[in-house]
């Protein structure tokens, strides 16, 4: 990875032993090679290079309009790239129509066929493959069991709940065993609790089947939970690709830092360096941080709220100390987040885990507090 990542402790993913992207000999299953696409004057995707490996759970993350859906639809065959190459298992598939690609998609609104039963929906792709009837019936039963919908094969889609429809859509897309399954905002229509359950079920399913999944989502939490790697997209480009923890802990720029989670930014010039530690001169004060930059460079320090310690009294010792008063706070049960004003109009976000049930002196609005962060907790960003 980058130089910065090397002098940090190893950052793990969900499956820390699974990392084919680090193996130079590994052949990617899907390869986007300088792919671009415009709709009229609107550039949707520009110069995207991306490799997705066999067995990977890959997330395309970005706000709406960033080009993530276009990228997915190009892989499914519903959009043709204007430039670049699109390879599946080393073969250029751009000339293949959607029905000839071993790539299946789970549509955002599920797109279940309303005139067909659940079983017929699941059998749709199998019938197109020309499998014998008995084999189709067996596979449909197998799929129904896999998504826990046994006995519902005869129902019509409109007789199902939202969560059940989602499972049928999933079963229909995986039944013909695609080389890669595309999931277009698969949990957008589910409520929060069901969404969390479904996320874990998807991960289990993906590992059980050993299938390659590519998910498109605007929900960073979802991407962080399910994916082996995340590609953060911005205005048609890939801003960063990495494991969830890499993207969170070592964002490459302010955009990625701000898109994934909350972040506090301190802007200033590098005043001095001392080994891996640099000293930043900013309007908010002088801070020490670990990072690579030269004296005089214009940089930003990105510090996550949970990495900022909150003290009710002035602590002695810690570096990077800031004094302020609590403007607002939010009690989230597991966490309390504080909005601290350190100068008129300048606020810092800090979060504290509620590790004990009873607190001697709970902090409230208007209380003076002191904030501090370790030099190793800040990320130095140059753009």
């Amino acid at each position: 990875m980058t130089d910065r990542a090397q002098h940090r402790p190893q950052i793990g993913g969900i499956r820390s032993s699974f990392a084919p992207w680090e193996d130079p000999a590994a052949r990617p299953l899907v390869r986007f090679d300088g792919v671009s696409k415009a709709f009229g004057d609107t550039v949707a995707v520009t110069g995207v290079d991306l490799s997705i490996y066999e067995g990977e759970f890959f997330a395309l993350l970005g706000p709406s309009g960033c080009g993530k859906t276009t990228l997915m639809r190009m892989l499914a065959g519903f959009e043709t790239p204007d430039g670049g190459r699109l390879m599946l298992e080393g073969r250029d598939i751009q000339a293949d129509p959607p029905h000839r690609r071993p790539v299946h998609m789970m549509f955002q609104a599920y797109a279940l066929f309303p005139h067909l039963s659940v079983a017929q929906n699941i059998a749709f792709g199998l019938r197109r493959q020309g499998l014998p009837k008995a084999q189709i019936a067996a596979r449909v039963e197998e799929m129904l069991a896999l998504v826990k919908l046994e006995g519902l094969g005869k129902r019509r889609p409109d007789q199902l709940s939202g969560g059940q429809k989602q499972r049928v859509a999933l079963a229909r897309a995986i039944a013909p065993r695609p080389r890669i399954l595309l999931l277009d905002e698969p949990m957008a229509a589910l409520d929060k609790k069901l969404r969390e359950e479904t996320q874990f079920e998807l991960m289990t399913l993906q590992q059980t089947l050993g299938m390659t999944f590519m998910i498109v989502t605007h929900d960073q939490d979802e991407a962080m939970v399910v994916a082996d790697r995340i590609a953060v997209m911005r205005e048609g480009r890939i801003a960063q690709v990495g494991r969830p923890a890499e993207v969170y802990e070592t964002p490459v720029d302010r955009y990625v830092a701000g898109f994934i989670g909350d972040v506090n930014l301190f802007e200033g010039k590098v005043a001095a360096t001392n080994g891996p530690i640099l000293r930043l001169q900013s309007d908010d004060g002088v801070f020490d941080a670990e990072g690579a930059a030269a004296v005089g460079d214009h940089v930003w320090l990105a510090v996550r709220p949970e990495k900022i310690a909150v003290y009710p009294e002035a602590p002695g010792g810690p570096r990077n100390l800031l004094a302020g008063k609590i403007l607002d706070y939010g009690y989230l049960g597991d966490w309390t987040t504080y909005l601290v004003e350190i100068a008129p109009g300048r606020t810092i976000r800090a979060a504290r885990a509620n590790a004990t049930r009873v607190v001697d002196r709970p902090l409230g609005c208007g209380d003076p507090v002191w904030l501090s962060f370790a030099p190793s907790s800040a990320v130095v960003l140059t753009k």
């Binding site: 029905h99 299946h104 797109a111 066929f113 197109r128 897309a173």
Partner: protein
């Protein structure tokens, strides 16, 4: 409370039905049970209110189904009846064949073009129906536009005015919007992602059409078919203007009985029989709709 509030609104359609359907229907049904008479109006019995209850009793005992018996004796009625159904069925079949591609084509166009094309389908309504049918006479007559065009192409002339072919041509022309519009409405609101899903799962575009688009458009086709078949079976103007003396249709029979023969009971009986027949496809359609909804 809620039911009480909406009751007046619920009654309105029934009132409308009673006034414009049930009442005329009872009149026609009563007429069909009467007899012709040399009187003004030309039928008997007539209800004599001055006799009170006895008059009412006399009136009802005089009603009988004798006219319907007459219909079975003269083969002309049966022939006209079968011919009407055949012509309406042929017309409906042709309308489906012609209307479906038009409706499908419009629904595949970009939204801005769609509006213009739907407008083009409706546009002929802005000209009087009668004038449009007369225009077909000008086109189809022996020295008409059609034969002039055929002559220019070096083809032999055709003489189809006053034949069943001309009637079917006129019917298809006149009823095309009634087939295209319900079909279009059905196809236009079909979710594009269903077609994509079908193709994604390995269906060729043609297969995706037959497996998804077509089955989902059947209710629209059924609505269009009914909207066309029912009025076509009773059509009078088109067979009268474009058809010949050998084109038998019930609309013409009713007109002849009513105006030429002054046989109001027979005209009414024919109308009732036609209505009874057309109830069958309507019920079938209702059942099919209920199945779609369930």
């Amino acid at each position: 409370m809620r039911a009480g509030k909406s009751a007046p609104a619920a009654i309105l359609p029934f009132l409308w039905l009673a006034l414009f359907f049930a009442f005329p229907f009872i009149l026609v049904a009563k007429l069909s049970l009467s007899e012709t008479a040399l009187a003004m109006p030309p039928y008997a019995p007539r209800l004599d209110w001055s006799q009170g209850l006895a008059g009412l009793k006399a009136f009802f005992t005089a009603l009988d189904g004798e006219t319907y018996g007459r219909l079975t004796k003269d083969s002309l009625y049966l022939a006209a009846y079968l011919s009407s159904l055949r012509i309406a069925a042929t017309g409906t079949g042709l309308l489906l064949l012609i209307g479906y591609p038009i409706a499908y084509g419009i629904s595949r166009c970009p939204p801005s073009v769609r509006q213009a094309l739907v407008m083009a389908v409706i546009l002929p309504f802005w000209t009087s129906f009668l004038i449009r049918i007369y225009a077909w006479i000008a086109i189809l007559k022996p020295a008409g536009i059609l034969n002039a065009a055929l002559a220019t192409l070096g083809l032999p002339p055709v003489d189809i005015l006053n034949t069943e072919t001309a009637v079917i041509l006129g019917l298809v022309y006149a009823y095309l919007p009634f087939m295209v519009l319900p079909l279009y409405a059905m196809l236009e609101r079909q979710d594009e992602s269903l077609i994509e899903a079908a193709q994604d799962l390995g269906a060729t575009p043609l297969k995706a059409f037959w497996q998804v688009t077509f089955p989902l458009s059947i209710p629209g086709a059924a609505a269009g078919a009914l909207l066309c078949f029912i009025p076509m079976a009773g059509e009078f103007v088109i067979p009268d203007l474009l058809g010949g003396s050998d084109t038998l249709m019930l609309g013409k029979v009713i007109w002849t009985e009513f105006f030429a023969n002054r046989d109001w009971p027979a005209a009414s009986a024919v109308a009732i029989v036609l209505l009874a027949t057309l109830v069958v496809p309507i019920l079938l359609f209702e059942r099919q709709q209920a199945k779609v909804l369930s």
